[in-house]
């Protein structure tokens, strides 16, 4: 009898593991890292080559004189010269420092305001739609006021960067919390998560994908606001990337101007790639990303 139940248990075990093996077979598609990297890289390289090619064709067509639209080779030489010198790096450091400061502050404000609005019905009614309105306001439109308030100073730039980025971040938090599946909240409550623990264990992680999307958008807005600010608020001792754009235009130094623009574009791409990687990691973990297709 005891022997019988033992074989019963063993059989049940075998049945279950057999069923499990059948059901999850073929779910794990292994694509090599190199192949995946190449699959996501070659379209970018091709697009880059086409863009450079078009640029060269426009230059060859003689549509504009070379002193206002130099070719890719001239600009590349200028860029190489800049990379070898100090000026570009000093400017980059100044700009990135402003960006980091403004962005970090925006993240703090955006997260706090977003969480407060998501939690409170009164606050949502009061400022929920205003946050979206702020988000649609072009950041450059804030500069006249900022300059009146803070004159041509770092503070004016900071003010506009925060106003540009914080609403997007707050909106990310709000929509993230709004779209947490109610079933997960009920499950969390049944497992004993109440109050702050419910936020820590369920709502915050469930809202993370939307929050990261908000952070990414906030970065894009803050970077744009910063560039606009640096173009307008020049001559405050430091030569930022934006100031270099202004100077190069005043000196009609087109290769310098285009080289600086390329640097700005590259910074934007690098940060965007970092956010993209974070986003993909999250989606892979959450199981909403098809492993084969990226």
């Amino acid at each position: 009898m005891a022997n019988d139940t033992l074989t019963d248990a063993a059989r049940a075990d075998a049945e279950i593991s057999g069923l499990d093996a059948l059901e999850i077979a073929g779910r794990e598609k292994e694509v090599s890292r190199g192949a995946r990297l190449w699959a996501s890289t070659w379209p970018k390289l091709a697009a880059f080559a086409i863009a450079i090619g078009l640029w060269q064709v426009v230059v060859w067509s003689g549509w504009k004189p070379p002193y206002s639209l130099p070719g890719p080779v001239t600009v590349a030489e200028e860029l190489a010269r800049q990379v070898g010198g100090r000026q570009l790096w000093d400017g980059l450091a100044t700009t990135l420092q402003r960006a980091a400061l403004g962005y970090i502050f925006s993240v703090a404000v955006g997260l706090l305001v977003g969480l407060a609005v998501a939690r409170s019905k009164v606050l949502r009614a009061a400022i929920g739609s205003m946050i979206t309105a702020l988000q649609t306001m072009p950041s450059i439109a804030w500069f006249p006021l900022a300059i009146l308030l803070f004159e041509l100073s770092e503070k004016a730039i900071f003010f506009v960067v925060v106003l540009g980025a914080a609403p997007s971040i707050a909106n990310g938090v709000i929509s993230g919390v709004d779209y947490v599946p109610p079933l997960l909240v009920r499950a969390g409550r049944n497992l004993g998560a109440r109050g702050l623990n419910l936020y820590r264990y369920v709502i915050a992680p469930a809202a993370l994908p939307a929050i990261v999307a908000g952070l990414k958008q906030g970065w894009a807005f803050s970077w744009r606001s910063l560039m606009a600010g640096e173009l307008l608020v020049v001559g405050i001792s430091q030569t930022s990337l934006g100031a270099q754009l202004t100077y190069s235009r005043e000196l009609s130094d087109a290769p310098w101007l285009l080289a600086t623009m390329i640097v700005i574009l590259v910074v934007g791409l690098v940060v965007d790639a970092a956010f993209g990687a974070a986003d993909r990691t999250i989606r892979r973990r959450w199981g909403v990303l098809d492993q084969a297709g990226q």
Binding site: L19, R186, A187, A193, P205
Partner: protein, 259 residues
Amino acid sequence: MTSTTTTPESATAAVALSGVTKVYGRGTNAVLALDGVSLDVRPGEFVCLVGASGCGKSTLLNLVAGLDRAQGGTITVADDAHPGLMFQEPALFPWLTVEANVEVPLKLRGLPRAARRERVAELLRTVHLSDFGRKRPHELSGGMRQRVALARTLALDTPVLLMDEPFGALDAMTRDILHDELERIWTERQLTVLFVTHNVREAARLADRIILLSSRPGRIIWSTEVNVSRPRRIDSPEVSAIASEVTDRLRTEVGRHGK
């Protein structure tokens, strides 16, 4: 609201419902979901609630779980135990591994790390998922996910398990195996189970007692003890006989809502 206070038959019931009434909405849109439902579940009893759509089965479980509030009547769980609730969907946290999902209730209870690890390993063994602790929910099949959800609910260390059609979305073969598993775990851990289903065979396979609820409003209209020895098979003649009797009653009840 009507709140008929009939004293519970026994003070030893694991779950005692007395005149439970639940209304959704207000005024002319009000829907009476449950109307004076009284039910005592004995400790260690496996009770299946069966009913057609709109009978308030899920509402009842939510009330017992404390996720919702009744307008009338009382609900008592013995020793103020906090019942564990399982849903038709596994409701696992997709951002956590299988292990970490099972660990959540243990963390919330403040168990130290070493004790948590031990408990998680033991629970995963119980549901035959020891090899899958590091996987994420989306990497598992539906049946496996539901077993993780069961392990996570068991981690609450509660004597009362509420199950809301937990196997409704699974294929027949997986469901049969999970019935065996649930029966085994229920016996080993001496759980009290309140199990909601619209699958009459499932009820006959699992229950000590089947309770039939009417629809709109939800009332208990009939109940029967299932005196079939365990372990049972879903295709055994005894289980089938009970199932067809319940089906007949259910069809009569559904027919009432036609012309």
